[in-house]
Symmetry: C2
Subunit: 290 residues, 2 copies
């Protein structure tokens, strides 16, 4: 059987690299074959899973420098039928790709906004006058690279290799500890879910909205976890899109959903919150650099 | 005396519109003249204030649909010398601007990523096959609009007027209740600060980091406010950029910084947090649509 895995495309993105790593890891542990399916946006790669076009999607969640990937969070909240199966943490090293042979000829740099932001210090130091042009993905930026010495793109060294393009500068991200966390997402009820070994998991992700105009509602929610000794690893607010100042909160906690204390927490949250959505329990797999 | 006010440019952005509103309001109340100075990025408009090139900056903080403007938050955290003087809440109505006379000819749409995101439902419904090209600002997108019928840009109707460009569709944002909150920012110690009447203010903004590996540190911080009866209007996490999973928290509370309960809260926070930065106390001014 072949698993189809959706990811942000075109081929050569960091999401595809994470998907490759996942496929190798999966293949070793379960003898599974997979085909990777690129989509133009993160939202479309998640929708592909919701509609059954693909069985899994590998999507970026959060970068250690630039923070949350809001398109992933908002789409997960809107599509009710998805479940996180696994988290992958991958080191990110950007390269400057160009046909040019010296930095002083470059006038334009293309990339994904997250990659441009992760290299902004380097760009200010070495290319202070270039025009930065954001695009949909790092590998899409490569397709805008013309065969001339004045344009460059920021993407992975793997992408440069894939399209046979020359690297002008390596390791150009401002912080060496640059990591992105990805989630492997399936439909709530699919066979794909069975490919992930699920004894006990280390993390659970959920999101809540509070009743409007109840002061201290967020504190009460967080206290539920604190009082049960459940550690929060992340909290992220997003607008409900109803009115300015109304938020939903994405919360990651360090507990398996089937643990007794977690079941108590969820029972209490059901009482105190307006909407409670659970996105799944999963382990975190570090991705070794290649 | 003339106040110089920095904002995201080129002329025609929503930030410039908010700055105009502010200048009119200020002029009425204090007889002040002002000149507006466009900068290519939000970070540069804040840096202009830090370095004394401009006395004030008007910067977007948060949109009701797309959430936090992370460049504003990160730059405020990095530049220690800035102070929020006032918040402005402005309704946002996007228009599709093009020389084309019918939607079915359009193949490319330029805009700022926030504006593209705020219109994504409309774009999927009416222009499902177009290429979306993100840029640095809505008005910069207008400059990429060619004199032909296949390209369009999303910006304000005011920007269309300013550059004498035809509007093809109006009110194209997915949610009618689309608002952006802006901050008017000065140096901590400048005369500009005196132009803002500062009797009692309604909100205080601050940011904190917690000592690493202290479980429940965020809950303790929020409890400080809850126990003193201070309501939180917003909490936003951002990566510390040190390692994945380490955050700083931007917190807006509904209290004047000089209030006794707020002084108690800050004294307690000084004990429990690693870094505590206070960005100022201010009122919120609603911007009427023009």
């Amino acid at each position: 059987m072949t698993l189809s895995i959706a990811h942000l495309g075109p081929p050569g993105t960091y999401a595809e690299q994470a998907a490759f790593f996942y496929v190798n890891w999966l293949g070793k542990s379960a003898g599974v074959e997979a085909s990777l399916c690129p989509y133009p946006t993160i939202a479309q790669s998640l929708q592909a899973v919701a509609t059954g076009q693909a069985q899994l999607a590998v999507v970026p969640v959060e970068n250690s420098i630039e923070g949350s990937v809001t398109m992933t969070m908002d789409t997960l909240w809107q599509l009710d039928s998805l479940r996180i199966q696994l988290a992958l943490v991958m080191p990110i090293a950007h390269t400057l790709i160009s046909y040019g042979t010296s930095l002083d000829k470059i006038t334009t740099v293309y990339s994904h906004p997250q990659a441009l932001a992760q290299c902004q210090g380097w760009l200010e130091r070495f290319l202070p006058t270039v025009q930065l042009i954001p695009g949909n993905s790092t590998s899409e930026a490569l397709q805008r690279l013309e065969q001339e010495v004045t344009t460059a793109a920021i993407a992975s060294s793997r992408a440069a290799q894939l399209y046979n393009l020359p690297i002008l500068a390596s390791g150009i991200n401002d912080y060496p500890e640059n990591c992105t966390r990805f989630w492997v997402v399936s439909q709530s009820q699919t066979k794909a879910a069975h490919y992930i070994s699920s004894t006990s998991t280390s993390h659970t992700s959920l999101a809540v909205t509070m009743p409007a105009n109840v002061p201290g509602a967020l504190v009460k929610t967080l206290q539920v976890f604190a009082q049960l000794g459940i550690n929060l690893s992340r909290i992220e607010s997003r607008p409900t899109k109803r009115s300015l100042g109304e938020y939903l909160f994405f919360i990651d906690v360090e507990a398996d959903i089937t643990a007794a204390k977690m079941q108590s927490a969820l029972a209490e949250l059901n009482e105190n919150t307006e909407i409670l959505k659970i996105f799944g329990s999963y382990n975190i797999l570090p991705v070794s650099s290649q």
